[in-house]
Symmetry: C2
Subunit: 272 residues, 2 copies
């Protein structure tokens, strides 16, 4: 699948990661810190600043030659003005200009599960649906738009990479997972259209497989479908869920090998 | 693909069609009227009542042995209360109980193209995104929910069929078609989840192919992408676009042969 070979990990990078306070987002931050070129900068966003700063400490322990800046943000109420200001603020903190980086990366990791106690026929509350899409889709399109205003590819000549953390649920329906399925399907399609329209961007969706995170416990605790509850409970109890380390290791390899199709999706279990 | 054979067209049917005032929706109404069992009832919804009544006249000319009731509705501002009332009202007009029908069908045809002058990086207005999803997704989930309250399958024992009119855009990204692509992707996934959760429902998405309708002219007039404008202009000028008659004829055949997978998608161009 590799169409060209560029050293992703060898470049001085500006990397923005959403939802970096826990789970897969935190592990991505740590592993990216370990693998990235020296003098790279990381901008971490999530609601919980305290947990973001824990991620920062773990990153700096893994690699002291990076800069990390954390900021609290509520992506449930995204505004372009705020996100634009925050990206600009991070560059001020790093004392860098966008053109100082060889590569700029956004990892769209933040997201929510949705109400797994509701079946599809219960998904009929406009406000609730709107709230779900605002966090899981609109905040993503707004952040992408504002990022590309600051990191103007025509000026910086740097490579711009968008990594969308997706799920098998984007392409396969699961009972009681209606919100998650429709949100991930729409979000993945957004990135496919983005890639189709902007051939100079690097864009792909990574589906991390069944990973043990807080979301797993949330599913087991609340999911309406007995089938899903049983599947996840068994996988957890038999230690068959992936660790965040395992899945992020694969993501690091995929980026190293560029083993993805631009605009497409790559699952943990896909053959390289 | 046919997993079971039931005579779709031979049953006394209650059929609700959204967006039946023009284009594919109108053609579906006419062809369904021609093919359906006698004493079936059609409830047509769209904003424009005058055009709905034109559709009604065409249907009654095609088959005098059916009942047709039209009502104006604005699916941009859907409420469950209103949609529930309208379905109940239609049954009063038809002087029928849900259990009087052997089959109940909803054709979710209404939808909008979205702003094809915007590229993906310009899709950053929450209100605009929300408005698009309200019409193209939330109104669909609300209507489905309310329909299943009235046509309670446990009580009526009738077959319930949902037909989602989708597009190739649900599975393939096209430049300048961001809204349409993400809306159709999410909507298709909603129906896949619905089918997964309700094995007693019949659900499928029909992708009608490139059909010449008002939407085609809207694309040609407004689309930002030169590539898409050229493609559609050429297809139109060389009469390579399908007619609504052609594509609805195929849909009628698919229903007759049940040549679809429950919860899945079927394109005009798919092999039978």
């Amino acid at each position: 699948m590799a169409t060209e070979t560029k050293p992703f990990w060898g470049k001085k990078t500006y990397c923005l990661i959403t939802g970096a306070s826990q789970g897969i987002g935190r592990q991505i931050a740590i592993d990216f810190a370990q693998n990235i070129a020296d003098n790279s900068s990381f901008f971490l966003l999530a609601r919980n600043l305290e947990k973001l700063n824990e991620t920062k400490s773990l990153m700096e322990a893994a690699n002291p030659k990076i800069q990390v800046f954390c900021h609290s943000v509520n992506l449930s109420e995204p505004t372009g003005v705020e996100l634009h200001k925050l990206i600009t603020l991070s560059l001020t903190v790093f004392a860098q200009d966008p053109a100082d980086y060889q590569q700029a990366v956004v990892v769209h990791n933040a997201g929510s599960l949705g109400d797994v106690s509701e079946s599809a026929v219960e998904m009929r509350n406009v406000e609730k649906l709107d709230k779900y899409f605002t966090l899981n889709l609109y905040s993503v399109t707004i952040l992408t738009a504002e990022f590309l205003k600051v990191f103007d590819i025509d000026r910086t000549k740097s490579e711009i990479v968008f990594i969308n953390i997706t799920s098998l649920c984007a392409v396969k329906p699961f009972p009681s997972m209606g919100y998650y399925c429709i949100g991930k399907a729409a979000r993945e399609m957004y990135f496919s259209v983005l890639a189709e329209e902007n051939k100079d961007l690097t864009v792909f969706s990574y589906s991390p497989g069944p990973v043990y995170t807080d979301m797993t416990d949330e599913i087991i605790a609340n999911v309406e479908s007995d089938e899903i509850k049983k599947t996840f409970t068994n996988m957890r109890d038999e230690s068959k869920l992936l660790t965040t380390q395992q899945t992020v290791k694969r993501l690091v390899e995929i980026l190293r090998d560029r083993s993805f199709t631009n605009g497409g999706r790559r699952d943990y279990y896909d053959e390289p």
